[in-house]
Symmetry: C2
Subunit: 339 residues, 2 copies
Amino acid sequence: MNTATTNRVFRLAARPVGMPKRSDWDFRTEPVAEPGDGQVLVETQYLSLDPAMRGWMNEGRSYVPPVGIGEVMRAFGAGRVVTSRHPDFEPGDYATGALGMQEYAVLDGKALTKVDTNAAPLTTWCSALGMTGLTAYFGLLDVGKPEPGQTVVVSGAAGAVGMVVGQIAKVKGCRAVGIAGGTEKRRYVTGELGFDAAIDYKTENVTKALREHCPRGIDVYFDNVGGEILDAALVNLARRARVVICGAISQYNSTAGVQGPKNYMMLLVTRSRMEGFVILDYAARYAEAAREMAGWMKDGKLVSRCDVVSGLETFPETLLRLFSGENLGKLILQVRGDG
Amino acid sequence: MNTATTNRVFRLAARPVGMPKRSDWDFRTEPVAEPGDGQVLVETQYLSLDPAMRGWMNEGRSYVPPVGIGEVMRAFGAGRVVTSRHPDFEPGDYATGALGMQEYAVLDGKALTKVDTNAAPLTTWCSALGMTGLTAYFGLLDVGKPEPGQTVVVSGAAGAVGMVVGQIAKVKGCRAVGIAGGTEKRRYVTGELGFDAAIDYKTENVTKALREHCPRGIDVYFDNVGGEILDAALVNLARRARVVICGAISQYNSTAGVQGPKNYMMLLVTRSRMEGFVILDYAARYAEAAREMAGWMKDGKLVSRCDVVSGLETFPETLLRLFSGENLGKLILQVRGDG
């Protein structure tokens, strides 16, 4: 039985200009809500911190509505069911969903997915088997469509999505090349993750390094960063390449406007395509994908590292680790200690 | 029998910076070459002037090798066979091919296509039934894949490719919206060409006008221009739209570098793709496409206007009409009067 009556929650206070700062949030203590019919009360264990959050804070047309001023900050996470008024859930079950940046969430049962903590720890359900792993899976396989023997390049290769993209590319018989910043990430990518090569964009000329590591050109470029790295990939495309647009972390906090890919005419030269996707469109296939990825994990073909930071209250500062390039692996906020 | 022994020819003298100027060419008089075995001597009647020519003058990786300094300027055109040492051609036949910017061309017979001047005049074989018409046909149908009832938007709508794109869109049961510069072109697009709407980018806010004319969004955007118009189209895409990259005339003479599409993340928001193509890849299907388009012409569903300028010697200045936005319809240089 849960006896907590208070819920600490981050509500959006202002739309950030450039990097989000603490004053863009309203960190409050509120009463825990009561679940209505068909709803479930979940105690948050872990929350996923993702670059996409920065986009959700902006006004304007996007793939989901922006978080409104005064609303709980949107966040995916995993938690433990406290009270259930939905037939599929019982107290003590573990589940994932859009819990929000708070300690207790009340959601419709149909917006939650029950997870098996014997199959994988809760942090993995927030990472390789969660939204970021699924993003890698569907973006690479459904949009990128790599074929055995082809070359797959991914930016943000030591990040939550990128690390999974390269490993799935290897599972599918491709050559995997990662782009990441710094010696430690570079080593992680070719070592622990088993990519064929890695490029450190902080010290190397990316255009030249891609030419060296992809002598037959890039067949699938999975982009998480945008900006100059996207341009470097475009000039190295093979014929009929696929550029998967997943994110543009280099541009999210820009106050000077987005830098468009000036080499986009290489799409014509190489007869290639650049395509965007939104993971939410694949909801009907999440379970199937997670099952396949759990199998690869069991076989040691898919590993994932989590960068877990404790304390809901650290959210505003911890989020910035994504944009400074500090974190390695999946960035997760630990809200409770017993997950 | 041809008795001419001299050939006037434009050879590339220098790589232009910005707009090409007369001194970038070497306009010479040379002896007419003799066809070898399997070759044909063709007397040029008409030459097609195209924005792509500007790209062929630059060094660097592209879909065809650049024209070398000292080489005859590459140009597609139509002419009359003078002498043939290839079994498929006889003197007096008319044919199209990459004749080059000159009065007489010697080509391998297999690089020429015989055309029927009873089916359409020679200028039409350089326009709607030539490379620009075929570019519209394959770019729209094979890359853009419009479905009946969808909205097709094309930039450069009063130009050689654009005018055909919109008319084929209508044949296929789509709504066709054109973007062009100036009142005369705007009228031409909705009048003679039968598009549903036209936007004058010189006097209208293109983003706003597209929103008005495409209330359900753009399903296929066929881009000939790049720059700000491409950005305006990107923010107006429907879900799962196709952006066909055919050209970027606004950028070809830029000395400040190419302006990349800063709104490219709309590809993610709308789950759309941007794809380039090169007409040369469709060579095996040219005849089939020309046959279908000739049928539409006969039925009055496909019209085409040519802007014919006389005199090979005017080439350097006539070419600039494409970039100043002066010409309407297909720009053609008339080299001989009897085509």
